[in-house]
């Protein structure tokens, strides 16, 4: 039996990691819910945002948390441009085509980063990087605690935005009924691009919260993209609450898998869940789409 003295800290640790997974997945689920796009480039764009936070810190000495004012808006612009310029024009009626285009984007982004930034793994040192908070017997790095609450606050803000603002309502209208939305005068292309931009901006937030306790290299996105898919699929494609809960579950599963099966098999549980859900609840995952 595993001692609760080890179990509880690793549970809490899993929850804090899970909140970040949830944050990455929020953008993915928003993009899926509105545009029905499975964005394969999600991980690569997260990596780009992480490099953004890193270089702002290295060159201008900007603290990762202050980068929240710069990186998410920049990511929004990138997302808006990608949707308007490339992704929106690529479907030819098949959803695999969009998947291929986002795959192409991720290959380009990852390999150009490899070319420009080399494959070195880099971290940002902040005065608070090694501070610890004690909670229920677990010693948690302060940045992870901040990231946990940051993720919850971001999810709350996103929810408020979707339910309280005109644009949020337009996005939800489009997600529900494309033709009807067009009929009542919603500028579909603009709202699609806004949704994609907001989804990518979430990655900017995730990057700022992640950087003080994590690292960046050109390959870092790949692991995240699979976890983000799993999170979104687990929570139900297009559902915000689902993404939050899914993220927390994945974080805990990973921590528990690591604890019981060892580190190298820790992620095994994630993919097992992913496969089982894809196989046995595919209709549930598609949400309102038959």
């Amino acid at each position: 039996m595993v001692d609760p003295v080890i179990l509880i800290p690793s549970l809490i640790n899993g929850l804090t990691t899970g909140a970040l997974y949830a944050l990455v997945a929020l953008g993915l689920t928003l993009i899926y819910g509105v545009l029905h796009i499975i964005n394969f480039a999600h991980g690569a764009l997260l990596m780009l945002a992480l490099f953004g936070v890193f270089f702002l810190n290295q060159i201008f000495g900007i603290d990762p948390y202050w980068a929240l004012l710069i990186v998410p808006p920049a990511m929004f612009v990138i997302g808006y441009g990608l949707q308007r310029g490339i992704i929106g024009k690529a479907s030819h009626g098949r959803d695999e085509n969009i998947l291929l285009v986002t795959l192409g984007l991720s290959i380009i982004i990852e390999n150009m980063s490899l070319y420009f930034f080399r494959s070195d793994t880099r971290t940002v040192d902040t005065p608070y990087s090694f501070e610890v908070v004690e909670f229920a017997g677990a010693f948690l790095p302060l940045p992870k605690v901040i990231a946990f609450f940051g993720a919850l606050i971001t999810a709350g803000l996103l929810w408020a935005f979707m339910s309280r603002t005109d644009l949020g309502r337009a996005i939800r209208a489009l997600a529900k009924e494309r033709k009807g939305a067009r009929l009542v005068g919603i500028n579909v292309d603009h709202v699609f691009a806004m949704s994609f931009g907001i989804g990518i901006a979430c990655l900017g937030v995730a990057a700022c919260l992640l950087m003080p306790s994590y690292y960046v290299n050109p390959q870092v996105g790949y692991g995240f993209v699979l976890i983000a898919f799993t999170t979104v699929v687990l929570g139900g494609m297009g559902s915000f609450v689902g993404a939050m809960i899914g993220g927390l579950i994945i974080g805990v599963v990973e921590a528990m898998g690591g604890l019981f099966l060892g580190d190298s098999l820790g992620q095994f549980g994630i993919f097992a869940i992913f496969i089982l859900i894809l196989l046995f609840r595919p209709t549930g995952l598609l949400g309102h789409k038959a």
Partner: protein
Amino acid sequence: MINRNQLLTLLIVFAIIGTAPFWIARESTLNTVILILYVALLGQAWNILGGYGGQFSFGHAAFFGTGAYSVAVLQLQYGINPWIGLFIGGLLAMGVALFIGFASFRYGLRGSYFALVTLAFAEVLRILSNSVSFTGGGVGILIPLSRDPANMQFANNVGYFWLIWALCLACFLTVWWLGRSRFGAWLQAVRDNEDAARALGVDVFATKMKAAALSGFFSGLAGVFYAQFYLYLDPAIAYGSAVSIESLLVPIIGGMGTLFGPLIGAAVTHLLAETTRHFVGDVPGIALAIYGLLLILVVMFLPRGLISIFGRIGGLFGSRRAADA
């Protein structure tokens, strides 16, 4: 008629490629030809399921890696000759393909969901091969050097050339047969409209399973070739995403669901990579970034792949209507 011309074209193309060892003196140039054939085999294997069947796998590494690990483990641990390992590897890869196919097609998984589940299966195999001992774990497997054709190892790369040439030809002939057989017609009917095909009496599930089996078998052979050519394997090489991505890039860029698409895709991507290397130097990432760009451009502007540029010649090459283009 077109089919007979196609077979003739196929045989002529392979005959011409077969002259390569006689006039290519430089080892590195012949290596390029070998790699193009190897990637064409990988791409053609994907093309059976993805191009002709419309089932976009993002996890062909699952089959490739199984073939590669089979031949390596069988000769290292059980002393089984690689020539026998070649077939066992192919069959085991076929078994993996049937398992994944059964799990996915049984529940009618389609489109992007099939892509994601295949990707996840390949990841599971990667994690497992990293953790169990008989694959050598993360350290990998080094196949001992014994340059003897009886061990499927050759003194120079001419031997490897003939091996991959023969494997590739076998795969291309199979796909040629696919283009003219009733089974191939069913497969394309399933791709173009699954529900209509079912209504006309096609056993959709069985058709997809057979395509998965063939596709897995040839991917496994590509894996065996890789293992014998490089004599080294680890989980990231065998089950990593790079193989999965390469095997779908090549037929999509060349032309999905066509006999010659994978060969054109393999030649173009590799020659482009070589040219880039010539101008930029051996810089990591650049060649792959170009693959990505090519993929986007093809999907956006040439949904039938580069083969469609050939226009009228395309008819001779058997360019087929891509699903929705």
